[in-house]
Amino acid sequence: MAGTQYRGSEIKDVDQFLKDADGLASEREKEIGQHIGYRYDVNLVPDYDRITPFLTKYMETMGWDDLNWLEDVHMGYEEGAAAVFDRNNNGWVRVPESYDLPDNQQDRDMIAREFLIKFQMSDRHPLVSLRKAYMKF
């Protein structure tokens, strides 16, 4: 019904969307057949005590004192698998199933940031081909 609020269900467990790919908990979610909202806490600020050596080197290279834009990058979950949203690709990039995920969201977020940078800076990123095809200057 137009004008009705649908907040979706609360996230209770870090593995919630790995165990339950659909994530349908509230009545409205069950009715429409899709989870409402993000599958992680979009407002979670990073815990810098958990930063990885790779990310420290990235910050140094860019001349930043913190994670900068990566503060908005979190480990998400797509179809029951851990994945990270790549804004340059406008799509999810999956974490291989063979990779052992840490048991908390903060450490997972750090891994997500590291994977995303490695992917975005690699030659296999779709932007490399897109630039070749469409770059104007």
């Binding site: 019904m1 004008g3 009705t4 609020q5 649908y6 907040r7 979706g8 009715e31 429409i32 057949g33 899709q34 409402i36 909202g37 979009v42 407002n43 979670l44 600020v45 990073p46 815990d47 810098y48 790779f54 080197k57 990235y58 290279t61 860019m62 001349g63 930043w64 004192d65 913190d66 900068n68 834009w69 503060e71 908005d72 990270v84 804004r87 690709n89 799509g91 999810w92 990039v93 999956r94 974490v95 291989p96 990779y99 994977f115 940078i117 490695k118 992917f119 975005q120 800076m121 690699s122 030659d123 296999r124 932007l127 490399v128 081909s129 897109l130 630039r131 070749k132 095809a133 469409y134």
Partner: protein, 289 residues
């Protein structure tokens, strides 16, 4: 794709390049977009196409007699030569200065800029010693922008990432449609700050005008002073220890830590009363699909 060399691509039209690279729409139909990370990928910290610049290599550009387009072209030319620190002198309120810089760089603007300064940037660290006009840092993707004096309205409009900092006060609709990143204001902000905010964080050390966070969908606003009024669906939330640690780190980083610390900040988030995901009833949805 590998069978086409860069030299061959250069001699083609855009249409031919798209075809040669297998990117035509009909070829993509039905293809899965499934992409997976390679955990053992090579450590690389800049885009493959980014110019190799050195922060210790510094140059100055006197922009007095140049148009804004000429200035932006000159910045790119200097970056191609490896200059990692570029100083723009006599900007004289030119519009759109330093836009679209997509790699690391230290850019220092000695003076004030006009509208849409350093928009669409992805990586550089910018310091502006004067004031800025409307929409400074709009659509910013990453990097840092530090404005030493005041800023106009729509500061950081549709910003997506990075830190956008103003030591002074800012006009109305600050961070309108913000989709990520952090906006820090040392002074006050005008009306409708955080309007339709969707994600990201905003720290206001001073006071906020009317309708703060109006129609915000997500994101967080921290206010150190008084707020004239909250907008539709902006509600106060608990300031956690993690929030305090992050605020302390961020404000200290830019030398803007208030004498009384961060405990007095008010945290404002979306009440999510405006969330109307999938407004259509399932039956209506079926009809459309």
């Amino acid at each position: 794709m590998a069978s086409v060399s860069d030299a061959e691509l250069k001699n083609m039209t855009q249409e031919e390049r798209v075809t040669a690279l297998g990117m035509r729409t009909e070829q993509l139909t039905g293809k899965s977009l499934y992409v997976e990370f390679d955990p053992d990928a090579e450590e690389r910290f800049t885009y493959p196409w980014a110019p190799d610049v050195d922060f210790n290599k510094r140059t100055e550009i006197d922009t007095d007699d140049m148009t804004n387009t000429e200035v932006n072209q000159a910045i790119r030319a200097k970056m191609a030569e490896g200059y990692g620190t570029i100083v723009l002198q006599n900007p004289r309120g030119k519009h759109s200065l330093g836009v679209g810089i997509l790699s690391k760089l230290n850019l220092i603007i000695e003076g004030s800029t006009g509208y849409f300064g350093v928009g669409l940037i992805d990586g550089p660290n910018v310091r502006i010693t004067g004031r800025v006009g409307w929409s400074c840092g709009e659509n910013m993707m990453s990097g840092t922008v530090l404005v030493e004096k005041n800023a106009g309205s729509t500061f950081g409009a549709a910003m997506r990432g990075g830190d956008l900092v103003c030591r002074g006060s800012v006009g109305s609709r600050t961070g309108i449609d913000q989709k990520g990143g952090t906006i820090i204001v040392g002074g006050d902000v005008g009306a409708l700050t955080g309007f339709m905010m969707q994600r990201g964080r905003m720290i206001i050390c001073g006071n906020a005008g009317k309708n703060l966070g109006d129609s915000m969908y997500d994101g967080t606003i921290f206010v150190g002073g008084e707020t004239k009024s909250y907008g539709v669906d902006a509600v106060e939330a608990e300031l956690t220890d993690l929030d305090k640690a992050w605020l302390t780190r961020k404000l200290t980083q830019y030398g803007m830590m208030p004498d009384k610390g961060v405990d007095h900040f008010t945290k404002v988030v979306a009440g999510k009363m405006l969330w109307n995901y999938d407004n259509l009833e399932p039956n209506e949805k079926k009809l459309i699909l």
